[in-house]
Every structure is written in structure tokens, then in C-alpha cells.
């Protein structure tokens, strides 16, 4: 765009031809009032608040839509502009309740702010005001539609960003109502952003309703830790409690949006199941004790069972992938210092002998620029809402999206779904690889010489070959695929052949942090499954909840519950199974209560400080670990704050336990394939305790989907359960497969 100069309120300003006026005034710090304009949404020009006077144009023009041209002379404050702005303000207020003191948006209302400057003190409107009947749109968003100013930001957010137009305008004129089209209300995984974009008190946070005024709260920069995006957000706090979470801005990470999961999980912090006091088990009875007593008890137990008797190799350390990088680092440092190499965060992987190795080598912000996407094994919208949001943008800009999934999931963008059994994925990829290698005139490795590429393989290969910027996305559903490692290997090879990128979503939360912290067994150590199978004498566990975290929870609990195994558990929530096998319970701080860092998929180590203090006796896990190390008299733990830990680990290279994989396409199971996923709002402990999320439609998801033939084979029908989960018969599922999405605890070993 050509550089031009324009004049705004008498000042010369540089701009690009065709830029919208409001972008320029915003850049220059010239205030132009607005309600419908939002920098991330399409222009609607409906509120008319941004009217300005342009010389030579009779009617006032909207700054949010007007493209500038060279020499344009604009007045944002002259009589004509002001008259229009004041007129619009008056119109907006005639039907708007003037009871700001009882409105939940009071103090952070754009209408209130602008009214102070542009409104008049007396209302000339003496007719009856419009009242809009309230509607219940779900447990997350409170509506008060009498306050709606019809700016349509929420509507545009739905159709343009969330990808489902759940809110819409019905009726016309004064009867225009912004409301959900469907009675089930708002169900989008990104719905909370409507609260942020709504300029007034029409859409507010339901869990936060009538709690506090915005100015009463302090606001802390923070980072979400439920997925590997690490969305930036603000935790708003009052008297030591997180009261609300709103989105932060970071173009490289989450732009200006956050998922509902990140927004509402804080509710779990105040759950009555929080573990608040240290406890020790004496003769089978739990006793609440002082910290020093509990720690002493823990050290004695560890010494007795593992250290004194040179049995460090019989000690195991396991941690949840939601831990901070610093927690991972301190825990492994401590364990290694005492000679223990049994360290792992991979709890739910059935086969750790051939683990998945796949780099993520594309940045989040580049995802929207790809021209071809192949998704393998992911229900993107629910599992990775922020990543799906970027991929959706790519699709809308013309990228082709193909998906190999066990079920034709509801993506909110155009996708070529191929429903395939997990069994077939490796062969499909091998076929595609063969086609690609042939096109590139390269010799095919022996494992694919006998493959006869299917039409689907050829199709996928052609798309990959025809595209310049492909990305292959490997999702969480493949982690327990019998050919998981081969699949990952072939994905890497295909991407290399077509100059594409890979995005590995097979792990969650701070998995990359764990890898940077080397929280993995190196050569001599045992992995999770080996530890659970071995004859162990002690465990140190960080925020683990077996019934959700382990692939086979029953056998895990059994292993941990053995009489002679001493278990020290750091947990943020109380839990029956944890209480069953633990000997010491140490209450730890949860998200927002601890400082540390999270490594996101861009490989950015994003640091955050605690927004609030942990409740009662709960302490940040990094401090607990440090004190345990001190009590064990280990050298090198003289940290005064968590930043010193971050500094120390910052220079570490990512640790990946690479090993050669022999691709074996023969390894198929003939059993009915089951993929078990926790519902999107049950994937970690904090989420599971967040009440509003749990009661939302996504949180309520609990189904084992299978097609008619599979149901018949299993002699099941709707109303029955499979692995304890209600059966849903749907022919969108691949043959002889079951896709479970559940809010219940899991045990994949359990008989159905």
C-alpha cells in the first residue's frame, strides 16, 4: 500500500492508502469512541458511535469503515463530528437501563466510559424503556439482554472466530434481539470470549456474577496451563482468591482469545476437595500434622525404604504433565542426586518401549498461513481449541484440511473427513509415503515395498505434493495406537519429503517443559510402566490422580498400594485413591498459586508469577521439593526464589530419548479398537473441580460412540454402557471401533 499523508484534527499523519481510519487514530492515540468495532472482527458499522467529519463529504462517516486516501482532512472533534457522536450516544442510552450500580459490568463498561464524555446529564426520553426477557444460555455466561446495545460483537465472534453462529439477531427494528438460535444455549468451547468482547453488561461471567467490581480486584499476568498453547491471560484476584480470568493479548500465542477451559478452570481452586493440611498415615489412620512433622515423616520413610539401604533404584518419581518446568527440574535434580533414575511424566501411554518421537516445528502464528493440513487422530475443536482456531483461519483462507479420525468429528471448518480405524492409519500413511517417494524418484524402504497405496493414500499424497506449506498434525488419539511410533516416524518422513511441517499434539500441558527439565528416564532408569511392574520400595508423586491419569488405573493403584511401598504424594486435591496408597500427603499449590514457567509448542518458556497465595497450609511444589532436598542434605538446592531455578534450567537442551524405530506394519490388533479420551473439561485435576465447566454441555459429555455394526457385534444398544460409559450408536464412527469421550474415571483394563 502506498504511503500517504492525511490530516486529522489539524495534525499531519502518515498512513497507508486504503487503511481504515480507526486503525490510524488508534495508532496515533487519537480517541474515537466506538462500540461495534473490534480489531479482530469484521467491520459492521452498526453502532455509529465512531462518526467523524471528513471535509468534502456531506454526511459524517464511520471511522471504523472509512478507507483513507491521500490528503483526506478528518475532524474527529469538530462540531459536526461531536454532534453525531452525541446523537448516537443519546440514542444508545434511551433504552439502556441507567442503573450502573446494580450492573455487573459497572466500572468496566465501555458504554459507561463513553457516556461520561459524550452523554448528557438529563434524559429527554420519557417513554417506557425496552425490557428484554432474560434467557438462560448455559452455566458460563450470564445474560442481561435489556443492556444489550446490539453491537453484534458476540454474533461476529461466533460466526467469524468460534466458527459456530450460536448468537444471532432475531426480529427487526426495536425488536431486534441478540440471542442464541437454539434452546440449548451457547456451547462453543470458546464462548467466554463473548464476555470479553461485549462492551456492556449484557454478557457477563456467570460464575463471577455479583461477586465484585473490577476495580476492587488486582490483576496478575498469567499463563494457562491446560494445553501446550499456554494462552496469556489475566487472573483477577481479591483477598487472596482468583475471582475471574480474562484473556490477555499475545499475537504469537493466543492473539486475544482464550478457551473456556482456560477461562473458567480457576473455579476449581476454591473446591471443597482442596488438600489443605499436611497429613501422615499412622497405623492406617490419617493424621493432620504440622509441615515439619509431615516432612520428617516423609524423609524417614524415604530413607528407610530407599536411601539408607542403597535402594535408590527402587524409588520412583512420577509427575503430572501439568507441573511447572521448575517443579519438573527440581524433582528430577533431587532424584538424580540421590541416585534415582526412575523418572517419568508419561502416565497414560500403554507402550513406552516404542514411544512417539515427533518434533513440532511450526509456530502457532504460522499455522494460519499453511495451505494444506492433515490431521491424524484429534478431535481438534475440543482437545486443542486454540490450535483449531488458527487452522480454521487457514482453511477459510483456502487451505485444504483432511482428517484421518476414528470418528467424523465436528470441526467447525471444511474438512475432508476419512473415518478410519486406528489400525489402518499406519498403512494409509505408508501408502502415501510410497507415492511421495516415487514422485520424488527415491527408493522406498523395505517396509513399504509391498504396500499397494489405496485411493485415500494417493489422494493425501497428491495434496501434500501439490501444496507448498503443509502441516501434518498428530493428535492425542494415536498415543495408544499399537503402531504409534511408526506412525510418528512416517509423519516425520512425509513432512520432510514435501517440505512440510509437523505439529505434535500427542502430549499435553507442560510436556515440553518436562522434556527441557529432563524429567524422563535416561539410559538406566525405568519408565512409568516399568516402575509399576517392578518391585519398588518407594514413590515420590507430584499431583497424580490415578483414576484419570493412568492408562490402567487399577493396576497402577495396585502397584502403588503394595504394603512395603512408601509413597510420598504432593497433591493439590484430596483423593480417595491417593489416600489409599499414600503414606504422606503434602498439600501443594495449584495453578495461579505458584510461580514458574510453562513451555509451549512454540518452545517459548513463558514465566508467570503466583497470582495468589495457596490456601491454608498448601505450598508451591517447588518449595516443597527444595525443602525435601535440603532435609536430605543434598547439595545445590540453595534457591531463594523460583527465578533462580528457571535461570539454571534455561540453558538446558530438550531431552529426548531417541531410539531407532523399526517400522512394522504387520503389528495390528484384531480386537475392537477403543480410543478413550477424557472430556475436554476433565483432562486435569483443576478442570475436574471447576464446577461451571463440568456442568456445561462439553463438561457433561460422556459417551462411548460406535457404529451400528460394532454395537451389534458387542450386543450393545443405546442405553447400555461400554467400559462403564453410556453407549451412543452413530455411524460416523469407523467400523469395529469405539470412541469414548468421558467425564468419568477410566480404567482401560476394566471389563465392560
Amino acid at each position: 500500500m502506498a504511503s500517504i499523508t492525511i490530516e486529522i484534527d489539524g495534525n499531519i499523519v502518515n498512513a497507508k492508502a486504503g487503511e481504515r481510519l480507526i486503525t490510524i487514530t488508534d495508532r496515533e492515540g487519537i480517541s474515537v469512541p466506538r462500540f461495534c468495532y473490534h480489531k479482530k472482527l469484521s467491520v459492521s458499522t452498526s453502532c455509529r458511535m465512531c462518526l467523524v467529519d471528513i471535509e468534502g463529504v456531506t454526511k459524517p462517516q464511520t471511522a471504523c469503515s472509512t478507507p483513507v486516501s491521500d490528503g483526506m482532512k478528518i475532524h474527529t472533534q469538530n462540531e459536526k463530528a461531536k454532534a453525531s457522536q452525541k446523537a448516537v450516544m443519546e440514542f444508545l442510552l434511551i433504552n439502556h437501563p441507567l442503573d450502573c450500580p446494580i450492573c455487573d459490568q459497572g466500572g468496566e463498561c465501555e458504554l459507561q466510559d463513553v457516556a461520561v464524555e459524550y452523554g448528557s446529564d438529563v434524559s429527554r426520553f420519557s417513554e417506557g424503556k425496552r425490557v428484554v426477557a432474560p434467557s438462560d444460555i448455559g452455566p458460563l455466561i450470564q445474560t442481561d439482554m435489556t443492556r444489550c446495545i446490539h453491537c453484534t460483537r458476540c454474533v461476529r465472534f461466533g460466526s467469524e472466530i468460534a466458527g459456530i453462529m450460536e448468537m444471532g439477531g432475531t426480529g427487526r427494528g426495536e425488536d431486534l434481539k441478540i440471542e442464541p438460535f437454539l434452546a440449548e444455549g451457547i456451547t462453543s468451547e470458546l464462548s467466554g470470549n463473548m464476555i470479553d468482547v461485549c462492551p456492556v453488561g449484557a454478557l457477563t461471567s456467570k460464575p463471577f456474577r455479583y461477586e465484585l467490581r473490577s476495580w476492587q480486584m488486582a490483576s496478575a499476568d498469567s499463563v494457562a496451563r491446560h494445553d501446550l498453547v499456554g494462552s496469556n491471560l489475566y487472573a483477577q484476584t481479591y483477598k487472596g482468591l482468583v475471582k475471574r480470568v480474562v484473556s490477555g493479548d499475545n499475537e504469537l500465542v493466543n492473539e486475544t482469545w482464550i478457551s473456556d477451559r482456560d477461562r473458567f478452570s480457576y473455579e476449581g481452586l476454591a473446591h471443597e476437595n482442596r488438600l489443605l493440611l499436611p497429613q501422615i498415615k499412622v497405623e492406617g489412620q490419617w493424621k493432620e500434622v504440622e509441615w515439619n512433622v509431615a516432612l520428617d515423616f516423609a524423609i524417614k520413610g524415604l530413607n528407610k525404604n530407599a536411601l539408607n539401604s542403597r535402594k535408590a533404584h527402587k524409588l520412583g518419581g512420577l509427575a503430572s504433565s501439568t507441573a511447572t518446568t521448575e517443579e519438573f527440574y527440581l524433582m528430577q535434580k533431587m532424584l538424580r542426586e540421590i541416585g534415582c533414575e526412575n523418572i517419568d511424566y508419561r502416565l497414560n501411554v500403554n507402550n513406552l518401549d516404542d514411544p512417539i518421537h515427533l518434533d513440532s516445528n511450526i509456530k502457532l502464528s504460522d499455522l494460519e498461513c499453511v495451505d494444506n493440513v492433515l490431521v491424524i487422530g484429534a478431535n481438534l475443536r475440543l482437545e486443542q481449541p486454540m490450535i483449531n482456531l488458527r487452522l480454521r483461519k487457514a482453511q477459510l483462507a483456502g487451505a485444504s484440511v483432511s482428517a484421518l479420525n476414528v470418528k467424523a468429528f465436528d470441526y467447525n471448518h471444511k474438512t475432508n473427513h476419512s473415518t478410519v480405524s486406528p489400525n489402518e492409519i499406519a498403512t494409509i500413511l505408508a501408502g502415501a509415503l510410497k507415492v511421495i517417494l516415487e514422485k520424488n524418484s527415491l527408493e522406498a524402504p523395505s517396509y513399504i515395498t509391498n504396500i499397494n497405496p489405496s485411493e485415500l493414500s494417493i489422494n493425501l499424497a497428491d495434496k501434500l505434493l501439490d501444496s507448498e506449506r503443509s502441516v501434518i498434525v498428530l493428535g492425542e488419539h494415536v498415543i495408544n495406537n499399537t503402531q504409534a511410533a511408526s506412525i510418528a516416524q512416517m509423519v516425520a518422513e512425509i513432512a520432510k519429503q514435501v517440505n512440510g511441517k509437523t505439529l505434535n499434539l500427542t502430549s499435553s500441558a507442560n510436556t515440553l517443559g518436562a522434556q527441557y527439565a529432563h524429567f524422563l528416564p535416561k539410559s538406566k532408569g525405568m519408565n512409568t510402566n516399568e516402575m509399576l511392574a517392578a518391585d519398588m520400595s518407594a514413590f515420590l508423586l507430584l499431583d497424580i490422580y490415578p483414576e484419570y491419569d493412568f492408562h490402567h488405573s487399577n493396576s497402577a493403584v495396585e502397584a502403588l498400594s503394595k504394603d512395603d511401598v512408601f509413597v510420598v504424594s504432593l497433591n493439590s486435591f484430596n483423593n480417595e485413591l491417593v489416600a489409599q496408597y499414600s503414606d504422606v500427603l503434602l498439600p501443594m499449590a495449584a495453578m495461579y498459586e505458584t510461580s514458574g514457567s510453562h513451555v509451549n509448542i512454540n518452545h517459548d518458556m513463558q514465566s508467570f508469577a503466583a497470582a495468589v497465595k495457596a490456601p491454608e497450609e498448601a505450598k508451591p511444589a517447588w518449595k516443597i521439593l527444595k525443602v525435601i532436598a535440603d532435609l536430605l542434605e543434598l547439595p545445590g538446592f540453595h534457591y531463594e526464589n523460583v527465578t533462580q531455578v528457571s535461570e539454571e534450567l534455561k540453558h538446558q537442551k530438550i531431552y529426548e530419548h531417541k531410539q531407532d524405530i523399526t517400522i512394522d506394519l504387520g503389528k495390528k490388533s484384531s480386537a475392537i479398537e477403543t480410543i478413550w479420551m477424557h472430556s475436554a473439561y476433565h483432562s486435569d485435576a483443576l478442570l475436574r473441580h471447576a464446577k461451571s465447566l463440568s456442568s456445561s454441555k462439553i463438561g457433561q459429555t460422556n459417551s462411548a460412540s460406535m457404529n451400528t455394526a460394532t454395537a451389534k457385534e458387542l450386543s450393545l444398544e443405546c442405553g447400555n454402557t461400554y467400559l462403564g460409559v453410556p453407549v451412543v450408536v452413530s455411524d460416523t464412527v469407523a467400523d469395529r471401533c469405539v470412541f469414548v469421550s468421558s467425564n468419568q474415571s477410566t480404567d482401560m483394563g476394566r471389563e465392560s
Binding site: V43, S44, T45, S46, C47, R48, M49, L51, T58, K59, P60, T62, S65, P67, A83, S84, A87, V88, E90, F91, L92, I94, N95, R124, F125, E127, G128, I149, H150, G169, G171, R172, G173, E174, D175, L176
Partner: protein, 422 residues
């Protein structure tokens, strides 16, 4: 009289293809199919004719057609606006009923000029009979090989479809019409971009009124100059005036532009019961009302009506005699705009309701002295501040009624009853 759109109106089965062709219909289109015209020749002829858009704004049609990026890649569309919803207007309905082929040919000619191979005629939802007539004519035209792909083995293709609206006045606004045609809620878009660049489905699109299209074939066969000479300077040709209200013979009249209003009134049979003329809305409810005195001195053309203080609009002449209560009339009009506002933009959504409620309150005998100033101020604040012209259309009657008949409003407020109605 009746020289262009209504030229066959007295013939039997005047809407049939046979009647239309017998009087020279489709001759221009056939020439185009034979390659005997260039788009520029047609545009020049239209420019000479002085034809201005009959939908209300009066924008020169030839100029509008020349704005279409005819050589741009991709699909382009031509659309006829038969949504005719302006109170007082019923001319397009009769064109569709009595001369549907002129609309088809006019659109076809336009499609050729603008290189648009697809056309839609958006017909007002209540127009069942006109819709069926137009559909019948479309069938005839297709059967006669006048429409379709590579018509008569030429390079020219034109497929034309009709679409029935769902009963919203605002969809007559061209960009709301586009939204509706796309299957969305009928709400105006902001401009720029204009439809010529970003129109139906984002593609270049030209929208004209039914009467505008229907005038084109006759202009082409008789010549632009012939048409221009029918009218007066700045207002070429004839115009259909829908005369309604307190006259003896309310009807559509196709007459030369520039006809004195008094003559038009005579054509409509003069005042009903010999009553005295009180006021005239000359161009449809959205145009300012005029007093009898001013109206009687006005000529019926763009400049003539403008000089009188109003607008030709869609040519819908509403005649009011002395028995008319202007407070009641304005309240009725205000209700119309209040009811028909799409509600999208603030001044119109909130302002039309405010205007109506204040007027209603006056009618209910609860008026206050300051209400007249309030009404004036509210209409002023709507004027020019909205997305589409419906806002202005709602404001203008208020301003003109209050300016011309203020004493009636004052009387009503003071006495709680009408000055004229018993």
C-alpha cells in the same frame, strides 16, 4: 401517455410474448445475439436518453452501467429490484403484471453490457400475481430460446431467475436485497464497497429498479434522443406516477416528465368529492410533504419537485384533502418506519421508536409543548447518521410535516384532539 413501459397496456393479453414481440419486443436483444451491438454503444444510448434510476435515488442508469468492471474475472450479476415497498408506490407491480417481457429484455440487455451471465429478479413477497406473471414470461422466453447458455449459438449467455421476498420493506434497499438473496437476514451493508465492486456473493453486481430495466428496450429501439425528448432537461422520458389518496381515480399513469402537477391531478380524476387539496407527498412516503399551494405550482420532474422542496423518489404521489389530520398521517408514517427499521444501526433502531412513541402520545392526548422541538431534534439526529437511507426516510416526513403543518401539532397538543377531525 403510455409510451414506454405501458405501451401495450390496452392490448389483449398484453403480458404475452406474442404481444410483446408484435410491437417490436426483443428486437434489441436479437441484435445483440447477432453481434450487432457493442456494450459501449448501449451505454451511450442510455446516457443520451437521460434515464435515471426509478427506484428512488434517480442515479443516471447509463453511468451506473458504465461503472461495472465488465472485464473483471469471475461471475458478475445483474439484479432487478422489484421489492416495491415504499408506501404509495405500485408501479413495478403493474409493470410485472402487464409488461414482464420488457423487464426480461431490459435485464438481458444489461447483462450483455455488464458481462453478467446470471440475473435475479427480486420480487416483493406479497406480489403473488405479478410473480406468477413474471415466471410465466420467463418460461416463454426460455421456450423461445431467448435465454440460457450460448443463446442461439451465440457467445452470449444469460440465465434469469425470479425470487420471492418475505415481506420486509428494508429489503428494497439494494444491499439488504443482496443479503436476503444470499439467504441471510435482510439488513443493509455499509458502503463503500459498492455492489458494482462487491455485490452478490462478493461479486460485481448491478441493481436497478423494475421500471429502469423496463424502459431500456424501448430506449434502444426508438433511440436515446427520442426518449430524452419525451421529457424535460435532466429528466428524460416518461415516468410512472402512482397517484393515490383523495382523488377520484387513483391509478398508475405513465406520463412525460415535466407534466404540471395540476395536470396529473386532473388525469387522476381530480379531488374526490370536489374536496380541497391540502397536501401532497410527491415521491413516496420517504419524501417531504408539500402544501397544496406549493404542489399546484410544481412540475413533475426531478428538478421541478426538488425546487418545490421535495423529491421525485419513486414517483408515488399521495394526495391529501382538507379532511386529513396531519398528526394522524405523520403518526401512521412514523409507525411504518418504526416497524420496518432493520434495527441494525443505533439512530434508526432507537430513533424511529422514539419518534413514533412521542407522536402516539400526542395522539393519545398526552402531548407536551416541548414535544415538537423534541421531534425536530430527534429527526435531526437520525438524519445522515445511519447506515442506509431508511433513517433519512424516517426523518424527512417528520421534519416536513412539522415545518408545514406545525399549527396542527400545536393544536393537538394543546387540546388533546385533532384540529380537523371531528
Amino acid at each position: 401517455m403510455n409510451e414506454v413501459c405501458f405501451k401495450n397496456i390496452d392490448k389483449d393479453q398484453c403480458w404475452s410474448l406474442e404481444t410483446y414481440e408484435a410491437s417490436g419486443g426483443y428486437s434489441t436483444w436479437r441484435k445483440i445475439l447477432k453481434g450487432e451491438y457493442t456494450p459501449d454503444e448501449i451505454i451511450n444510448e442510455l446516457k443520451t436518453s437521460g434515464l435515471r434510476g426509478r427506484g428512488g435515488a434517480g442515479f443516471p442508469t447509463g453511468l451506473k452501467w458504465s461503472f461495472m468492471p465488465r472485464n473483471a474475472q469471475g461471475q458478475k450479476y445483474v439484479i432487478c429490484n422489484s421489492d416495491e415497498g415504499e408506501p404509495g408506490t405500485c408501479k413495478d407491480r403493474d409493470i410485472l403484471r402487464f409488461n414482464p417481457h420488457s423487464v426480461i429484455e431490459g435485464m438481458a440487455i444489461g447483462s450483455f453490457v455488464m458481462n453478467a451471465t446470471i440475473g435475479y429478479n427480486y420480487i416483493r413477497g406479497e406480489f403473488m400475481e405479478p410473480f406468477n406473471r413474471f415466471e410465466g414470461a420467463l418460461k416463454e422466453a426460455y421456450a423461445a430460446g431467448l435465454l440460457g447458455k450460448n443463446i442461439n449459438a451465440s457467445e452470449v449467455s444469460f440465465d434469469l431467475y425470479s425470487h420471492l421476498g418475505a415481506g420486509a420493506y428494508i429489503v428494497g434497499e439494494e444491499t439488504a436485497l443482496l443479503e436476503s438473496l444470499e439467504g441471510k437476514k435482510g439488513q443493509p451493508r455499509f458502503k463503500p464497497p459498492f455492489p458494482a465492486n462487491v455485490g452478490l456473493y462478493g461479486k460485481p453486481t448491478t441493481i436497478n429498479n423494475t421500471e429502469s430495466f423496463a424502459s431500456v428496450p424501448e430506449i434502444m429501439s426508438k433511440g436515446g434522443q427520442w426518449f430524452a425528448d419525451l421529457g424535460v432537461e435532466n429528466s428524460g422520458g416518461t415516468k410512472l406516477f402512482s397517484v393515490s389518496g383523495h382523488v377520484n381515480n387513483p391509478a398508475n399513469f405513465e406520463v412525460s416528465m415535466g407534466m404540471p402537477f395540476s395536470e396529473l391531478l386532473e388525469l387522476a380524476g381530480g379531488m374526490r368529492n370536489g374536496a380541497k387539496l391540502k397536501a401532497v407527498i410527491p415521491g413516496g412516503s420517504s419524501t417531504p410533504v408539500l402544501t397544496a399551494e406549493v404542489a399546484m405550482g410544481m412540475t413533475m420532474d426531478y428538478d421541478g419537485i426538488e425546487k418545490a422542496g421535495s423529491m421525485l423518489g419513486a414517483g408515488s404521489v399521495i394526495i391529501m384533502d382538507e379532511s386529513t389530520c396531519m398528526v394522524k398521517a405523520l403518526t401512521r408514517l412514523a409507525h411504518f418506519y418504526y416497524d420496518e427499521s432493520c434495527g441494525q444501526c443505533t439512530p434508526c433502531r432507537e430513533g424511529t421508536g422514539w419518534l413514533y412513541r412521542v407522536l402516539k402520545r400526542i395522539m393519545d392526548g398526552k402531548g407536551k409543548a416541548e414535544d415538537i422541538d423534541l421531534l425536530m431534534s430527534v429527526q435531526e439526529k437520525i438524519m445522515g447518521n445511519t447506515i442506509c437511507a431508511l433513517g433519512d426516510a424516517a426523518a424527512m416526513p417528520v421534519e416536513s410535516f412539522l415545518r408545514n403543518f406545525r399549527e396542527e401539532f400545536e393544536y393537538y397538543i394543546e387540546h388533546g384532539k385533532s384540529m380537523v377531525e371531528k
